[in-house]
Amino acid sequence: MQEPDLKIIKLLKSGNQKVFESIFQKYNGILFVYAKEYVVDTEVANEMVQETFLKLWEVKDTLSDNTTIQSYLYRITRNNCLNYLKHLKVHEKYKKLTIARRMEISLNYSALSADSADKIISEELEEKIDFAIKSLPPKCKLIFKMSRQEEKKYKEIAEELNLSVKTIENQILKALKILRKHLEDYITIIIMLLLNNF
């Protein structure tokens, strides 16, 4: 994933709007889901992502050539969300939150401010996920690939494989569970390595 980014960074630095737009198209959805996981509110999540892209446009000249765009965008979004959650308590909005929502926000803040939130945004994230996909059981892997890489709907996959939609859903859930475990193990190893260095 390093090489294409090199070209993109160059074009971006030259102020190419088309490239900026294509970056926006590619990562807008990803970052929105990521932000919403922490800030919960849809509107706020949208704001966070917009700020991220504004920031990218502002600092594009200072980007180093070997920046990985995806992890860079994740990091800015993380900072935006952290800032938002940090100051939410003094916000007028906070008073109107339900008790459950307040607890949720405080749990999310504690997760997002932890080391693992930064460590997990690794340069090799996509490779890591691709590698983890390889370890899925065959049927699970096939279904997951059809869904994620070929962008087929559950119904289409079900028809093609002659299975029920429910089965497809279950297999995708199973895949996600295994992938999550893989990512967690990976992060644990990184954190342990770092700790050993000190």
């Binding site: 990803i30 990521y34 509110d41 109107k96 932890a114 869904s147 994620r148 999550r180």
Partner: protein, 327 residues
């Protein structure tokens, strides 16, 4: 519940308020727990975002796709309007005026039906789509003749138990002072007496969504959830309760569901049409749950007395109820 189970539920957005509370106290116990939770939450967030990249299966992706499509439609419409406006402006004006006029006429023709349940009975109302409502005494249900056309909207004052016929295309909406409940098909109880400044809904089957300008975001409730919205203190909370007793409303019984003394008095007042004077100062911590079939108010007060010690007497066609002083 095991911590892993709690975390998984939380990550899947399925944790209730009390489960979130439980998780929070588990996390606060040790740094290790905190890191374990953070790791799982962060992995989950990243993975969810990676999987949801505009793929048509995932919901957030779908929302984004829709937004984009929505924008496109909007701009092309605007173009069309632009051309149309310049060429056909006078025609448009007439058409618009005519449309507004017919709309206005229609609005004036709107007919509504209102049911008011008599005292001493739960009244059953069956709506045109097969939805059943059991109204508590003196509660009212109002709907217009457009019920079932685009959606199914009713207005509720008081208390009702609902069994809503499933129809995903036409959501069932209950309008109350200060809040709305939206349902697709389910059974649940609603209490919304305007004078109580309190809305309480209990879900028996299915799920409902409650929205209010006084709530930050709408909330989805699932079976066993009892949502209470205290409008005086602007406080909303969800509790898990046993819902078995709510099914009995259908049998026309007088029910008390974890009610305190002041709630009992107000309910008896509505049921028996007798003014009840009750001084509700002091604590009202004792709760009373019971069902009655065709009993006199004296019998009920006697039985209440077994749980919540009270004195009561008749004075000029009204009943005076007092809490017994502690000995």
């Amino acid at each position: 519940m095991k911590s892993q189970e709690l975390i998984t539920k939380y990550l899947n957005n399925e944790a209730s308020q009390s489960e979130i509370q439980e998780l929070k106290s588990w996390i606060d116990k040790s740094e290790e727990n905190r890191n374990e939770f953070a790791l799982q939450k962060n992995s989950h967030a990243l993975l969810a975002s990676q999987i949801a990249t505009g793929k048509s299966n995932s919901e957030p992706g779908q929302i984004l796709v829709k937004n984009r499509a929505g924008k496109k439609i909007e701009t092309s419409l605007r173009k069309i309007y632009g051309i149309a406006a310049s060429v056909f402006f006078p025609v448009l004006l007439i058409v618009t005026a005519w449309l507004l006029y017919t709309q206005y006429q229609k609005a004036n023709q709107e007919i509504y039906t209102e049911f008011i349940a008599p005292p001493k009975h739960n009244s059953q109302v069956i709506l045109s789509d097969g939805t059943h409502v059991w109204l508590s005494p003196e509660s009212s249900l109002k709907y217009t003749n457009s019920y079932g056309q685009r959606d199914r909207t009713v207005e509720l004052k008081g208390e009702g138990y609902f069994e809503v016929e499933k129809n995903p295309d036409k959501p069932f909406i209950i309008e109350m002072d200060n809040a709305n409940i939206t349902v697709l098909g389910t059974s649940f109880n609603v209490e919304a007496y305007p004078e109580d400044k309190l809305i309480r809904t209990t879900i028996v089957r299915g799920s409902v969504e409650i929205a209010s300008e006084k709530l930050f975001e709408s909330m989805v409730l699932t079976p066993g959830d009892q949502f209470t919205f205290d409008m005086e203190n602007n406080n909303a909370y969800v509790e898990k309760v046993n819902t078995e007793i709510y099914r009995l409303v259908k049998d026309g019984l007088l029910l008390f569901k974890r009610n305190n003394l002041s709630e009992i008095c107000r309910k008896l007042e509505r049921w028996y049409m007798i003014p009840i004077e009750y001084d509700d100062t002091g604590d009202d911590n004792l709760l009373f749950t019971a069902k009655f079939e065709d009993e006199s108010i004296e019998t009920i007060l006697k039985i209440v007395n077994e749980t919540i010690p009270i004195n009561y007497k008749y004075i000029n066609n009204q009943i005076k109820v007092e809490k017994m002083k502690k000995q």
